[in-house]
Every structure is written in structure tokens, then in C-alpha cells.
Amino acid sequence: MTTATPTVAAGTQKTDGTPSTTAGRVRKRLNSRTATLVSIVIAVVWTIPTFGLLVSSLRPEDEIKTTGWWTAFTNPQFTFENYEQVLFGRSASSGQLAGSFINSLAITIPSVLFPLAFACLAAYALAWINFRGRDWVYIAIFALQIVPLQMALVPLLKFFSTGVTLGGVTVMPAWDLVDEQKFAQVWFAHTCFALPFAVFLLHNFISQLPGDLMEAARVDGATHPKIFRTIVLPLITPALAAFAIFQFLWVWNDLLVALIFAGGTDETAPLTVRLAEMAGTRGNEWQRLTAGAFVSIVVPLIVFLSLQRFFVRGLLAGSVKG
């Protein structure tokens, strides 16, 4: 958007009494040139760390450990060895990230779908069904957004491991999950923690649908479930996409919840947990860390770049409209 400020510069020139509009034009062009140049330089600086990681991940181990990645341009030596090692290697030190990659997928997909569906239903009820105490329920869910998930971690873990007993009566037995079954705990935790924001975001969209539409459908005898399925769902697809991307990035990139509820063993650890562990115990194995980090980055990057439009829209709706 080339608007305001450059022309303002020309305007000030006029009030100064300088007749030469050419000078103004030159200055304007210079101004926008400088701005372009500076913003490109900053963008490049911003990208250098990631770029360095990518270049390093493709260099042979000896090279990474002894010379800076910037020397790769004068002395190019590239290999996929690091990726092979870190993904498929079987030795304990190599990472075995292919397994973690599958863990990440298995954790993320249900953790996106469940809150999406539940929040959608709840947001519809809060926006378009009249019942007593509706505003209070909405305010309560809205307020829950501010509870940090740290507040729930210790008791929730206990809830999974020992169940619930009220006055000696077992209301809910321990889940007693082993190995890959622990994914269910992670799904549960992520779903609970995501719901307040999800309801809030989707309510923002759903409550703005035209009321006439609902009214007309009601007059035609459509029930709430029917309106929800045939009218509301198709109309809020962009909002659903926005939240799905949010939640996908959040869950895929999450460390804390996975660390606690996935059990921390390699069997169930997602990429983030595995990488954090490698960074701690093998902090100098840069050939593995760089390739591993890139493996974990690539999926969210693709999702993000291809669906950026929805993401930004969701971001603005979630943060600015309030």
C-alpha cells in the first residue's frame, strides 16, 4: 500500500515555498527506496538463523563441527546423511525421529478435531439458542481463558494415574494407560486446554451470522441440530480453518503438555520432546540437532505457508475484535 507519507513529504515542500516538485518527487522516491531497502535488510537478518540451520543440516558431520556454516558457500559439500541418521538410525544416540514424527501426528490430529467439534457445538448454543443463564455460561467459559494450564497439570496427571474417589467410592477408575495408549491422555489434556479459546473464537464468528437466516429456518420448522448442520457449519468454514490451523500449530509445537502426559519415554514422545531432550543431553551433536530441528519445523511451515490467509484472519478476529 503506497499511501500517505511519501506524498506528505511533497506537501510539506509546497508549504515551505519550494517550487520544485521534482525535488519532492525525488525525495519521495528516495524515502520509499530507503524504506524498502531497510525492510528487506531486516527481513534477511530475521531469516539468517533459520537459513544457517538449514545449510548446516545438509553439511557433513566433520564440517559442521569444525567450521562455520557460512564457509559452505566457498567450500560446498552437501549430504543427506544427517537426515538419514536422525530419522531412521537405530543407535540410541541417533534420535530415531521417524518414530517421533509419527507420534507427533498421532497426538496432533485428534487434539485438533475434538476441541474443534465440541467448541463449535458450544459456540452455536451460546449464540443462537435461548436458555436461562446463557450469558453466565458464556462469561464463565470466556473467563477460563485466563487460567494458565499450569494450574491444571498436577491434579490432571493424578486424575489419570489414580482416578477419582469421592468419600471412599470410586467414581472413576485410574486410566492405567501404557505405551501408545498414553496418547489418549494427551488428547484429553489438549482438548480441555483448548476449549475456552476455541469457544470464544468460534462464538465471535457464529454470533455474527445474520439473524434473519436463523429466523427463516426456524419458521420453516428446522430444529437446532438441522440449522447447525445445514446453515451454520457451511458458513463458518473459514473460522473452522482458522482455529484448526491455530490448534495444529499449538499442539505440534507444544512441549509442556506432551512432556507431562505422553509419559516422556521415547515410545510416545513427539518431536518437540525428543528434540528438547537431545538439545539437553547431546548439545554438541550439531549434525543431529540441526537436521532434527528442521524435521520438526517443516510440517508446521508447510501448513503455515499454504494456509497463512486463514491464520491471519483468525489471528485478527481472535485478538482485535475482543
Binding site: 538463523p49 533459520t50 490430529i109 499450569q150 496418547f183 520438526s296 508446521p300 491471519v312 482485535v320
Partner: protein
Amino acid sequence: MEFDFADEQPKLLMLMYGLVAFVLVVGGLLLLLDVVPAWFARRREAQLVAASTGGAPLPRRPRQREGLFALFFLLPTLLLLTVGLIVPAIRTLLLSLMNGSSTEWVGLRNYGFLFSDDAMLRVLINTLVWVLLVPLVATGFGLIYAVLVDKARFEAVAKSLIFLPMAISFVGASIIWKFVYAYRGEGDQIGLLNQIVVSLGGEPKQWLLESPLNTLLLIVIMVWIQAGFAMVVLSAAIKAIPGDIVEAARLDGVSPWQMFWQITMPSIRPALIVVMVTLTIATLKVFDIVRTSTNGNYDTSVIASEMYNQAFRYGQNGQGSALAVLLFILVIPVVIYQIRNLRQQREG
């Protein structure tokens, strides 16, 4: 030595179970909501028919079942929030008043510990530094960049590059920056920062071991990630400034500087506040960066990472819970400030 796909099958099976459960729960709920009202409607019809033919008393008008519908729509959400968030939060509050293994009540001793122990005071100070610096620097940078890029060519590409770190996990970002900060005792440096220092004639350092500098270097990571968020929101706000206001100012002959402070800043104030508040809350809860980069060692620990260590590594549930509660208490004033602002905005 090869990767064995068969080992992964139980996990994929578990994923399948999860998806089946999803279809059953959500599909079942929708079906229930469809079938039950239809059944009620049919019964009422039958009653009406019976009434008109057999002279039976007319059935009463059906009560409003709106509430029942709402209950079913809200059921999964309310149930999960109660079990997964409300009850655990209350229990954490109680646990914070008990000892490490949650066997006896100790009153406020855990909170006393937070504000008297030297290591804990360090944690609180670090958190304060994070919360003061990250929102300010990230928002400031985002704002400057949004203004700069607003009249630049390649705007979309430049914005994407700044925004990109948002997609990278905190863990990934920490590894990226750990590599920038990397140190070698002898020979060529492999970390960019030390290379720059060396080429300027300085001595290479183990950056992440030097307190308090290391906390600042971790803050750089957070700013690097979050500046894109600030930039996108503020850029949208700048573009939403009505054209005629800008036009009027231009006719009055204001300088770019005046334009920025008297037109742009007041117009985007609401967005500015939202960004600051969001970043403040995110910074308060920062955990991944500290955990991945230093594991909270070398005086870099913050509340969230200390909470994890206390509760899940040292088994000190009481102190861990007290830290969680402290986090909660610190978030509240920030949120109240935002709500008050939103209300003023709506009234104004």
C-alpha cells in the same frame, strides 16, 4: 539397523481408535439431537390424531425444549472444562497450601518460600525482566516494521519472512539460536555470534553460561518469534485507518513524524494494547525456551520452568502448585486491564 515400520503400527492403530472415537462421539451426539426431537414430534402428532378422532383430551402444548437442546450442545464442553480445568485448578489451589507430598496442610509456607529463597527470588526477577522486555521490544519492533513495510515494495514477502518464526516451535527456535550462540574453545567458531565477535577482534564466549546476559539472549529468541505476531496485527490496524483522516492530515501539511504520532498512534491504540497484553501473558508462561536452551540452569529459570521442575522433577507438589497459582495471580491484573480497555472502547 534399519527403521522398522512395523514398530510404528500400534501407534497408528491408536490414532485410528482416536478417530473412530471422534466420529462416534460427535456423530452420535448429532444423531441423538436429530432423532430425539423427531420422536417427540411424532408422538405429539399421534396424540393429536387420537384426540381429534377419539375425543381424547387434547395434549398440552409442548414445553419449550430450547434449554434441553442447549444442554446437549454444551454438554461435552462443560464436562471437559469441569473435569480438565475447573476442578484441577481448584485442587492446585489447595495443593499449594500443602507440603511436597500433599499429606499435610502447611498454610502459606510455600508462598513464604517463594519470596524468601534466594534461588526463587532469582526466578521472580528473571520473570520480571522477561515480562518487561519481551512485550515492549517485540511490539516496538513490530510497529516500526509495520510502518516501514507499509510503503515498501515486496511487502508481502518481507512480512512473510518476519512472520515465519511464528510457525516454528519454541523448541525448534531455541535450537536455531543455540546454534547461533554456539562456542568452540579452539579453531574456527561455528556459532554466528562468536564469529562476529571474533572478526571484530573480541574473545569468543560461552554466551549461555554468563548470567545475566544469558537471560537477555533467551529473550532475543522470544522476541524473534513474537515480533511477527505484533507486526501482522499492527499492520492490519494501520491499513484500517480511514483514508479521509489521512487525506485531511495531508491537506493540513503535517510531517511524516507528526502523522505517525498524531494520526497513526491514536488510531491503532486498541490494537497496540491487545498485542501488548497478549504478549505479556504469553511471556509470563514461557517455558519451552528456557527448558530447551539451559534447562533453567545458570540463573535463567523463570516461573513456568521452575514450576515444572518443582512439581515434576523434584516431586515438590506444594511449591510447584504455589508457583502455578502465582502465575495465575500475575495474569489477572493484565486481563482486567484489557477488559476495562475494551469496555471504554465500546462506550467511546
